[in-house]
């Protein structure tokens, strides 16, 4: 069973690498932030699989933190901290 999880993790990390092409290509800033979002979700999935493969439930907390910061990164991308006043 772990063998299949390893294969799935390998596939996901390869998709991650492919998704990076979009960062390279762009063309807009929004595309690149989307690429971060996809990479983030893929990383979360890999972490979930790894938590089974190496039997390390603590990796679930790492996944939790990534999920929480995914939204913060998006909001940092659209919000301007520069004051209007």
């Amino acid at each position: 069973m772990t063998g299949l999880a390893v294969l799935a993790a390998l596939a996901l990390v390869i998709f991650f690498g492919l998704g990076l092409l979009r960062i390279h290509l762009g063309p807009t800033d929004a595309d690149r932030i989307l690429s971060i979002q996809l990479s983030g979700t893929t990383t979360v999935a890999i972490l979930l699989l790894l938590s089974v493969i190496v039997d390390m439930p603590a990796l679930l907390y790492v996944a939790l933190i990534f999920v929480l910061f995914a939204a913060v990164i998006a909001i940092a991308f659209v919000r301007n901290p520069k004051g209007g006043a």
Binding site: R32, S39, L68, N80
Partner: protein
Amino acid sequence: MILFDGVLALLIVVLAWRCVTAGDLYLGIVVFIVMGLMLALSWARLDAPDLALAEAAIGAGLLGVLLLSTWRALPGHRRQDRDHPPARKAVRWLAGVASVAFGLVMAALLHALQPDEDAAGALALGRLTEAGVEQPVTAVLLNFRSYDTLLEMGVLLMALIGALLARTPLAPYGAATDDGTDSPLIPVLATTFTPLLLLVGAFLVWAGAYGPGGAFQGGAVLGGAGVVLVLCNRLQGAPEAGILLRLLLVLGVKVFILAGLLMLPLEGAFMAYPPGLTYPIMIAIEFCLATSIAVSLLLLFTGTHGVRVPER
């Protein structure tokens, strides 16, 4: 699994290369954040969940947010203004090649290093029961090598003071705005994600006693909650720091030193805790450290001396 590790390592090297040689500031930031994701995965593969947590919270999370916000605050971050790359191509490639060379030298040196069998690690693990907490990393950080952690807190405080002196604030005491994208979801984000970040942050600090987690990881997540509030306009930078904020800033260092001094007459050594009280003292210290770390990171984000609630 070796294939997975290989792809992971390859991706990290490629990302690091792109991060240094990126012609565009924004591209460099994006690559840096994605590299943080990969680094967290590699820490997970190296059996170091503590570092994976730290990388997730600080490296990819908070630092990414800080860099993105800094980029947004730069004049001319829009695409059409970006004709001038930040550095000449030759400089960027030189930086890349120098980084690779440095990495290779470090790798060779570290590889040649033979770990000492009777090193401190084995000694510390053997006496873990005396440390008061089950988690070896926390035991080392807060008990066996507490001087290091105390000085690290001092370094963080110094960094904050230096940053406040050196730079003009990102938000010149004004509120966060976004040009034309004032989404109705922004308040939703503030009200749902802030409590969650606070909860997870506090949990991580607590979890540091018996599993992966600890003051630095938890503090970074707590600081992230503050950053969300600033970005959602529930908090804003202020030119003056209130007395409460100052107290919170130095709380970690103060309580750490105080705990060390108070036990001096009892145990005869600075920072030696009496056996029965070790656990509660360390938990208290850990929460104080996390609070100070969170406030320091928040102020590093706003770049101001204080924060206040904006008037409505």
